[in-house]
């Protein structure tokens, strides 16, 4: 039950590399905050600074209103779930979970009841006597979670905990983590590079790039109103189509070598974004009209089951369009694509939303 506040946090490594370049985040109590970004963006460094495993070069980190810069990981009252689980290989599942409590001199009967209660929640009761090497990946993951939960800490920290699981298990564990976190009501920081994981888990989504925050917000807000071209391209799969906007002498704007955009366009807009699902395919049966209409040639069709992605091209530029269900379109066909003005995202030449 705690808030976590990061105030202009920086991390400069000994070699002069600046991994985190001034990050401020206020995580409310009981929230699940997901840090997402490509590898090397500083998200893991930030998490490790919250954990106390990395020193803070400047700025402050507070847990529950108390600055923890100088406090070691042991005394921050945090628990961490690691990417490779980091279970103690020579200890049984029971001992793995009990170890942190023993080090804190928790009375034996209490350790026992807490470990057993946690094992019950995570359905690990049958495995308490096993060693980590006798467990499957998913079971190890649960034990790692159990080790965090049993401590009943103020904050949970997750460092890409699902990246070693297969896709199906990852989907299951995602739901489980979300439910657990909500039921326990423990403030959590979760690092991932998987935008799907980020979208589905987060109460609060923090998109990072090159040591800086690109955007903070609720997942759907970030999705619907990306603050920059980076966020637009990172969140969503397939990513948003980003097209260079050309200004004609008469003041109108065109994309892709000549297609005009009708309606008023923000003054400094230099890039226009269109999500694949917002592009409508115009057919003679159901003609679509919008601010933008593009005659394109289909280059490839990717059916993924409940939807298909059409990779289209016009004048050497590419655009991806999502169509529901099975698509009758063949590579080589020409199509008319339309999109409403409210579906277009505009960014200035630096990539900021306008």
């Amino acid at each position: 039950m705690a808030t976590v506040d990061l105030n202009d946090v920086r991390k400069v490594y000994a070699g002069g590399v600046e991994a985190v370049k001034g990050v401020s985040i206020a995580i409310p109590d009981k929230a699940l905050c997901v840090l997402v970004g490509p590898s090397g963006c500083g998200k893991s460094t930030l998490l490790r600074m919250i954990a106390g495993l990395e020193t803070i070069s400047s700025g402050t980190i507070s847990i529950d209103g108390k600055v923890v810069n100088e406090i070691g990981p042991t005394d921050r009252d945090i628990a961490m779930v690691f990417q490779n689980y980091a279970l103690y290989p020579h200890m049984s599942v029971y001992d793995n979970m009990a170890y942190g409590l023993r080090n804190r001199r928790t009375p034996k009967p209490e350790i026992d009841s807490r470990v057993r209660a946690t094992a019950r929640t995570l359905e690990l009761e049958q495995l308490l006597d096993r060693k980590p090497r006798q467990l499957s990946g998913g079971q190890r993951q649960r034990v790692a979670m159990g080790r965090a939960i049993v401590r009943n800490p103020k904050v949970f920290l997750f460092d890409e905990p699902l990246s070693n699981l297969d896709a199906k298990l990852r989907g299951q564990m995602r739901v489980e983590i979300k439910n657990l976190q909500r039921n326990l009501g423990v403030t959590s920081v979760y690092v991932t590079h998987d935008q799907l994981e980020a979208m589905t888990l987060a109460d609060m989504l923090v998109v990072m790039n090159a040591g800086l925050i690109e955007q903070i917000g609720a997942p759907m807000d970030v999705y619907e109103k990306p603050a920059s071209t980076f966020v637009a391209a990172f969140i969503g799969a397939p990513p948003m189509n980003l097209l260079a906007l050309a200004r004609e002498t008469d003041g109108t704007a065109t994309v892709m070598g000549g297609a005009r955009i009708e309606g008023s366009i923000p003054q400094h807009a230099a890039i226009v974004g269109l999500r694949p699902e917002d592009a409508l395919v115009s057919t003679p049966q159901s003609p679509q009209k919008g601010a933008l209409s593009l005659p394109v040639t289909v280059e490839a069709v990717e059916p993924v089951g409940m939807e298909s992605f059409l990779h289209c091209a016009i004048n050497g530029e590419r655009i991806v369009v999502r169509v529901p269900g099975r698509s009758m379109v063949q590579p080589g066909d020409t199509l008319e694509i339309a999109a409403g003005l409210d579906r277009l995202h505009f960014f200035d030449k630096d990539g900021k939303r306008v």
Binding site: R48, A51, G52, L53, G72, P73, T74, I78, A79, M80, F82, Q83, N84, Y85, A86, L87, Y88, P89, H90, Y99, G100, N103, R104, R133, R147, R151
Partner: protein
């Protein structure tokens, strides 16, 4: 279910690409090798069960003689006049103390220094590492005179400390532990820190149990190293009662051939082999695991 099983045949045990002839050849070579290695030990044993007269009248029989109890009880209790009336039991105790001291001492010192070098960041860390590494190039024989002088000045001649301490530092073992510690994932160290384990707790609760097999393997090797030390014990012990069994053996045969109590020499040699064998047998499971294991 049993009747559904495929009939057992010798071919079940063959590895792919192996022929029956190959197996016979491999076994023949193995058996030959064992014979070559084991025969001198067997012959020593045979000699230890005959009287001196039989031994001195070649050829020595290939089968054990009737003097087993006589020879062994004489060596164990009676003592041998040639080496100052010290019984084999005293020699065995001396050697055991020295070998254990060297093996345990080396392991304790090297595991601690490797722990410091791998898991702590302190000034001149790499310098210390290289200094340890350089000592690899200075074997005992090279520094034996200054070391002897130091032992004399410290009054450690004819003491267990004098036997053990100069041999106790081990760059090899330090390097071995360092290599092993470097394979321990950083996450494990961090998990322990988050779990509230300080440096000592991490060492005793996690690092030591994980190093178990390495320690066992090293213990066997170092125990035998200590057991078979020759030059240093020869220098640092004057009194016969502080001799190790290897030194005593040499002293027993340093006289004219006719005077040497060959049957007792052979008994002593046999007894000298027993403790290292016991150590190897006792540690065998862990020893092999330590040499081949890579699972973590």
């Amino acid at each position: 279910m049993a009747d559904l099983k495929a009939p057992a045949s010798g071919h079940d045990k063959l590895m792919i690409g192996q022929s029956a002839t190959g197996i016979y050849v491999a076994h023949a070579i193995l058996i030959l090798g064992i014979l070559i290695v084991a025969f001198p030990i067997y012959y020593t044993f045979v000699a230890s069960t005959h009287t001196l007269q039989t031994i001195l009248r070649p050829p020595l029989p290939l089968l054990p003689g009737p003097e087993f109890w006589n020879n062994y009880s004489q060596a164990l209790s009676g003592g041998v006049n040639r080496i100052g009336g010290v019984g084999v039991d005293t020699l065995l105790v001396n050697t055991t103390v020295m070998a254990l001291g060297i093996a345990i001492g080396k392991i304790v010192i090297s595991i601690l220094s490797a722990y410091a070098i791998v898991f702590f960041r302190f000034p001149l860390r790499m310098t210390f590492f290289w200094i340890i590494f350089i000592t690899l190039m200075l074997p005992v024989e090279v520094r034996i005179l200054p070391t002897y002088k130091v032992m004399v000045d410290l009054g450690l001649i004819d003491t267990y400390a004098g036997l053990i301490v100069p041999l106790i530092a081990s760059a090899t073992a330090t390097l071995l532990f360092r290599q092993f510690f470097m394979t321990i994932p950083g996450e494990l160290v961090e998990a322990a820190r988050v779990d509230g384990a300080g440096p000592w707790r991490f060492f005793f609760d996690i690092l030591l149990p994980l190093s178990r097999t390495n320690i066992a393997a090293l213990f066997v090797i170092l125990f035998i190293y200590g057991w078979t030390q020759y030059l240093w014990p020869l220098l640092v012990t004057n009194s016969n009662s502080m001799n190790t069994i290897v030194i005593a053996l040499r002293k027993m045969i340093s006289f004219a051939d006719a005077d040497t109590q060959w049957h007792l020499v052979m008994v002593t040699a046999m007894l000298a082999i027993v403790p290292p064998i016991l150590v190897v047998v006792a540690m065998q499971r862990w020893f092999v695991k330590g040499l081949v294991e890579s699972e973590k």
